[in-house]
Symmetry: C2
Subunit: 204 residues, 2 copies
Amino acid sequence: MGIAERKEREKEEMRELILRAASKIFMEDGFEKTSIRKIADAIEYSPATIYLYYRDKNELLHGLHVEAFQKMMQEFAQVVPISDPFARLVEMGHQYIKFGTHNPELYNLMFLMDAPMEAIACRNEIWDDGLRAFDALRVVVADCIKAGYFKETDVETISMTIWSYIHGLVTIYLKGRMKMFDDDRELERMQQSFSLFIKMLKAI
Amino acid sequence: MGIAERKEREKEEMRELILRAASKIFMEDGFEKTSIRKIADAIEYSPATIYLYYRDKNELLHGLHVEAFQKMMQEFAQVVPISDPFARLVEMGHQYIKFGTHNPELYNLMFLMDAPMEAIACRNEIWDDGLRAFDALRVVVADCIKAGYFKETDVETISMTIWSYIHGLVTIYLKGRMKMFDDDRELERMQQSFSLFIKMLKAI
DNA sequence: TTGTTTGGTAAACACTGTTTAGTACATTTG
DNA sequence: CAAATGTACTAAACAGTGTTTACCAAACAA
């Protein structure tokens, strides 16, 4: 019975076709302009067809959210060769800031928007992508402790604190809340703050 | 010519009437359900009337945003009596977390949403409310330095780092990104992380 | 008492996500 | 092979959204 398999394959291809079109529009025009009708137009199908492959827009956005995490984890992989765990942690921070500032729409989707989380909640699942990313941080923090960098030993709390700081920094920047400083030294300010935070980390 | 003044007063009263209705709906049903038509219904005017008093929805949301900052600054005022500057800084952090977790919709409006910032940008103004709140932090940090709490002396960078951390913490919580830890210890985790951050601050 | 200004609105415009009913074609069955 | 079933797809509608336009009636100024 190759037919059932072919149909399964075709279904997956259609899901992928929709996701690719959604991704293109999302990256080019941002979230606000990514409408079901626009996606349907791009793939030359009717809007209703999309609902045969994704239960709602939340699920579709969750699909993009998954891809965004893959992309971020890919960039995190660059830090693996760094042997010193603290230097690895610092570079991970740099990569995080770089990813956020270079992919504002993706960052929004991953860490701020409700839509992908609602899709997860609806399926009674856990935020697996977030957990994996956080685990990557936990591992590096644990390595730092092993290497004697921190007196503090609560990996979870240290990781949470680091993530909070860097997420806050990126979010303030992305949401235009740094424009209150009239000068155009936003990135410089971020760099200075990050340096101070690294100093603080060294002391715990 | 009392008529012009009366008209001015009536205009201001109408703006206030709209804002009160908007605020009520915003607090009760959240941002997503705060539509122009719903506000119009509440005050028993047509939707078009609202546009005679606010140029668009962004301006209306900016009005709520201003009130939200007033509310937050009011709660910050509670820490003024604390004489020790570092204890005052810590309590300010507590107040910030409390305000954010107790007023998720307001916090969103103040620090995450685009709408109020677009209203500001449209009028070629600066984010005054944010600046005033940040100044409150700067003052306390400066007091800490004066009292010899920090070796570091860059008030701006220290303040930015503190704000980034605490904003990140609150945002992770509010945007449901802490649900990845399956347990129900979200607030406890926040408290633990905050304690660690205070420890880190003491060391700079 | 005219003429003008002003406050307010009904209706329309151009969108949005989503559902329903129905069609045309592919597949399975007798 | 023909009839019955299943499936992929869509046009149209539903119930919203922010916003603009054309118009009306009442208040004001001359």
